[in-house]
Amino acid sequence: MKFTTLLTSAAMALGLATGAMAEDKTKVGFVYVGPVGDGGWTYEHNKGRLAVEEHFGDKVETVFVESVPEGPDAERVMTQMALEGADLIFTTSFGYMDPTINVAKKFPDVKFEHATGYKTADNVSVYSARFYEGRAVQGHIAGNMTKSNIIGYIGSYPIPEVIRGINSAYIHAKKVNPDVEFKIVWAYTWFDPAKEADAATVLIEQGADVILQHTDSTAPQAAAQEAGNVVTFGQASDMSEYAPFPRVSSIIDDWAPYYIARTQAVMDGTWESANTWDGIREGMVAIGEITDAVPADVKEEALALKAAMAAGEYHPFTGPIKKQDGSDWLAEGETADDGTLAGMNFYVEGLEGEIPQ
């Protein structure tokens, strides 16, 4: 208890000391799980940070620490940022959830934003992106493009985020191509480009002519390019260097609008704890350019699907949908609730194999 008081009073003392200065400069901290040069997850968050700097200019100061392991190291980095007078701290990995809550307790005046988690507090918001909306568009294109009717899917770990993507892509591929089959390979690593290359090659060798990836490197793109007739989609970033073929479209994480809005809210004093789950409509999920390698009518349908989601008229998980075991999940016209989606740990009907548990 004593320690908490000490920290808080130190923070307050600092707040008082720099109060005059703080009025014209908002300090925003970012804690990254990977290096900013990972070309994927952290790279995109860092682009968001740069967008904040560009948008607000002299009115903000941003700081970041990269490659911070989850656990006590993350807690220390957040505490350090808070001690040094950060007003708002974005913690950009699921594993930062408990550390964020712990540190937030000690610094009630600092606002925290935790990505992809579910624990909130008065000064902790959570935010995440509805990437599965992008997966729906991919699934639609993939189902139309495949000739072998085998679509390969590379996953990192069987967590709800990845499973949601598989389900969404499958549902929409199946809709346009009832014969479609998904082959799923789990890399069981967050980051190993060489293994991703192997996984893609294996899937191609087993007949897949469309590869979807939930890993961040371009290795599968290169493998597809070498194979010659395999379609891929960019992940996390646009991967446009592989356009127009094999990369025919992409899902892009765009955190900039959210980061700018939340920083603005802190500046205005209107920041409130929230649970944000934004998608295509809000611009957090962007669909990269659909290239001309996709037939015009398919492209048009895909864009229409995207537009419907952007307008809020269509939910990718709309019934009737059954679970893999044949039990009913969503009735006709019913849409999935966010709670079920957030913790999704089952396949929908038609997908083969078991989710590793």
Binding site: P35, P193, V202, Q206, A208, A222
Partner: protein, 306 residues
């Protein structure tokens, strides 16, 4: 589940690709250890090779120049190891680990402006006629040139160690540096050459990942291959062809487990994912009847105090 979907010919062809970075790094380290030096900095030298090769081939547009640069980059980094262990006589285990730490950081600094770029492609060699032979063609004659370099290097190292005077001296230095010194061989000089060779090979292995297998630059992209290469040298009992066998075994199981997953075999994924490591251990246990052991002077510091 349908095992028939696994095409053994393609499996062998892709395991050769998967094994090449391992093989290159392991062959280099094998020579280093044969000379009695334990350099645990393989991962660091690989990643520096990966970025040197990537940067040069992007700048010049030539993958070949890239690979040369990668070999030089790996060797230059190993020069630090030379300074530490051969000049300053520092502990080799700690120096090697420090080298890895340094290499990972240094490569990331070098590579800051190379994220998200596609390097020029090297292309495969398609020798007319023989590359079209069924089964043998795809396995043996349809690969990128560096893969053949790896196999040639294995053969060259094997022949050199076994049949040449250089190889004999190298082994003598590794087995008993005091005796080798007494015979008038320049222990330090020979070890330096071996370490530089090891660095160059590791650099090539790293560049194989960044230029051919993935091809892309990302921080830390070697993702632990250097450590596996180190383990392979032990696995191979310091014999070049067994290093090749080990690399193919390891690469093969990695590719096979992904194949089994894709074919929907009902083995839990985590067991499949750990299988390359476990099978490597098991094979080593079976092979450990072979009592050929490490070079006797391995890891020991030499100082000529006459």
């Amino acid at each position: 589940m349908d095992l028939g979907e696994i095409n053994p010919v393609l499996l062998v062809a892709s395991l050769m690709v998967a094994a090449t970075p391992l093989l290159l790094a392991a062959i280099g380290e094998l020579v280093v250890e044969k000379a009695g030096v334990l350099n645990l900095g393989v991962e660091g030298m690989m990643i520096v090779g990966a970025i040197s090769g990537f940067a040069i081939s992007v700048e010049t547009g030539s993958p070949w120049l890239g690979f040369i640069a990668a070999a030089i980059g790996g060797a230059v980094l190993s020069l630090l190891f030379v300074l530490l262990t051969q000049v300053a006589l520092a502990n080799q285990v700690a120096s090697g680990l420090a080298l890895t730490l340094f290499g990972l950081g240094f490569s990331a600094l070098l590579g800051q402006s190379y994220v998200g770029i596609k390097p020029p492609s090297m292309g495969d060699i398609h020798i007319p006629v023989i590359s079209d032979i069924p089964v043998i063609g795809p396995i043996l004659f349809q690969h990128d040139p560096i893969l053949y370099v790896g196999i040639a290097l294995t053969a060259a190292v094997w022949a050199t160690l076994k049949y040449t005077r250089v190889g004999l001296i190298l082994r003598a230095v590794g087995e008993n540096h005091d005796a080798a010194h007494a015979l008038g061989y320049k222990v330090i000089k020979i070890r330096i050459m071996a370490i530089l060779f090891g660095g160059a090979c590791a650099g090539l292995g790293g560049a194989y990942i960044s230029l051919i297998r993935v091809p892309q630059w990302t921080e830390g992209m070697t993702a632990g291959v250097g450590w596996i290469a180190l383990a392979l040298v032990v696995f191979a009992s310091w014999k070049p062809w067994r290093a090749l066998l080990g690399a193919y075994l390891f690469g093969g199981i990695t590719v096979l487990q992904l194949n089994l997953q894709a074919a929907g075999v009902a083995i839990p994924v985590e067991y499949l994912a750990m299988s390359p490591y476990i099978i490597t251990i098991l094979v080593l246990v079976i092979l450990s009847a072979d009592k050929s052991s490490a070079p006797a002077s391995l890891g020991r510091t030499f100082h000529a105090s006459h």
